[in-house]
Symmetry: C2
Subunit: 259 residues, 2 copies
């Protein structure tokens, strides 16, 4: 997949390969986060006295890193959606002229707040042991930032999936979009068999990467990550939110004259 | 290991477990970097027109992130050594009072320049395909930053190894240090059998994590990382540099009155 060649981005086979590869990144990131306990204070707005910032420690770190990355044009890339779109400076490098792949959406489809919410409230408590280690608040937060970014990229990739599906089934999609048939769109983009494959793959990856293969007794109980939590995160959040992104994208997909 | 309890940090068994866990992090990071081609321009000083900065794109990103992380006191932690120690701001959070574990070294033992050098010139060319993808310069640089940080933490952990060895063999070490016997110190801290174990473990980890376990044909040729390059990186760089760090630390270890 090459974002300078739109035809490679809306190729469903390429998309599938990229999504599969992202699973590994997400599993690696969760394993890294699970090294540390939950660290409740890093998610509590105002728990640290950071001047000019009302959010949590993790949010501050995420925003500061987004400010750095915006300077090197991270958020010009069509597959990157920032968590703090209103706080970002202009790039210090000349823009890359990406040819348009996606249809311009009024708000770019941004479900990052929901991602932050499920990750902090549902995933961290399941993959991390209870407790707080003051000397690892920063390290834990950095892991959170990586987890959030990789989940965001994965879920928002739904926009490319949706565009590819729109291009291959334009007539059918157009009719569903025109009648604002959300349930119909959801049904049209859902493939239960593929979803099952994704979950089976996730389970296998979390099991494999989660265990040090050189242990004398590399049994499931030695896993450094809660495999069930990883699989259920995909089942309950990543897959449904990706579809939500797809539907939201499609609802705004029709060229002005047709909408 | 808990840096607020020095006795847990100089416990050779704890150190061993931390070093083993770091291997996974390093392998994960190299696998992520290997997704992208070499991107020679990101290592070339001045290749991008970044105002007030003479270094390379990767160095700029590393420095900017260190500036953010310094604010949340990353470099107050005894196991973190920055690449740009002279460019860092004061923390915005109150200091954590770490009880001293290490003996104060005049320059804290910092081999980060050597690490940057071997990583860029020897490792990247071996784990990445030839070529440049302009739209992934930022992503590749971020992976480099993660690789460099995890390598730096691993190699500088030699200081804790050295302190632990000094505490358990004080008389022997003192005599070697007093006579500035670098070869003797190197021999005293070297355990060839353990080094062999480390390399065998690295190989197994790179083989396991490098291959998507859900592939129909998960053969070595499907590996996403050059396993030999990972093992040889430890053999040629990580292990020797860790020992260099240990020796350098020990040479400055004697209390003033004894030195």
């Amino acid at each position: 997949m090459d974002f300078s060649k739109p035809e490679t981005v809306v190729d469903l086979n390429n998309i599938r390969n990229v999504l599969i590869r992202m699973e590994d990144t997400i599993v690696f990131n969760l394993i890294e986060r699970a090294k540390f306990p939950r660290q409740p204070s890093i998610y509590k707005p105002g728990a640290f006295n950071i001047s000019d910032f009302d959010g949590s420690f993790v949010e501050w770190l995420l925003r500061e890193e987004e400010i750095v990355h915006a300077k090197i044009r991270r958020y010009e890339s069509p597959d990157e959606i920032p968590f703090f779109p209103n706080d970002l400076p202009e790039p210090i490098l000349p823009a890359i002229e990406y040819p348009p792949v996606l249809y311009p959406h009024p708000n770019k489809v941004n479900v990052n707040d929901t991602i932050k919410d499920f990750y902090i409230n549902d995933i961290v408590p399941r993959i991390c042991a209870d407790g707080e280690q003051p000397e690892n608040l920063g390290s834990s937060s950095l892991c959170d930032v990586e987890c959030l970014r990789s989940l965001s990229r994965r879920i928002h990739f739904g926009r490319f999936v949706a565009e590819a599906k729109y291009l291959t089934e334009t007539a059918h999609m157009t009719s569903l979009i025109k009648s604002k048939d959300v349930a119909g769109l959801d049904a049209a983009i859902t493939n239960k068999a593929v979803e099952k494959q994704v979950l089976a793959r996730l389970k296998r990856k979390a099991e494999t990467y989660g265990i040090d293969p050189t242990l004398a007794d590399p049994q499931p109980k030695a896993s450094r990550v809660n495999v069930e939590a990883v699989v259920e995160m995909y089942e309950n959040w990543v897959i449904p939110l990706t579809k939500e992104v797809e539907v939201e994208y499609l609802l705004n997909r029709l060229p002005k004259e047709e909408a």
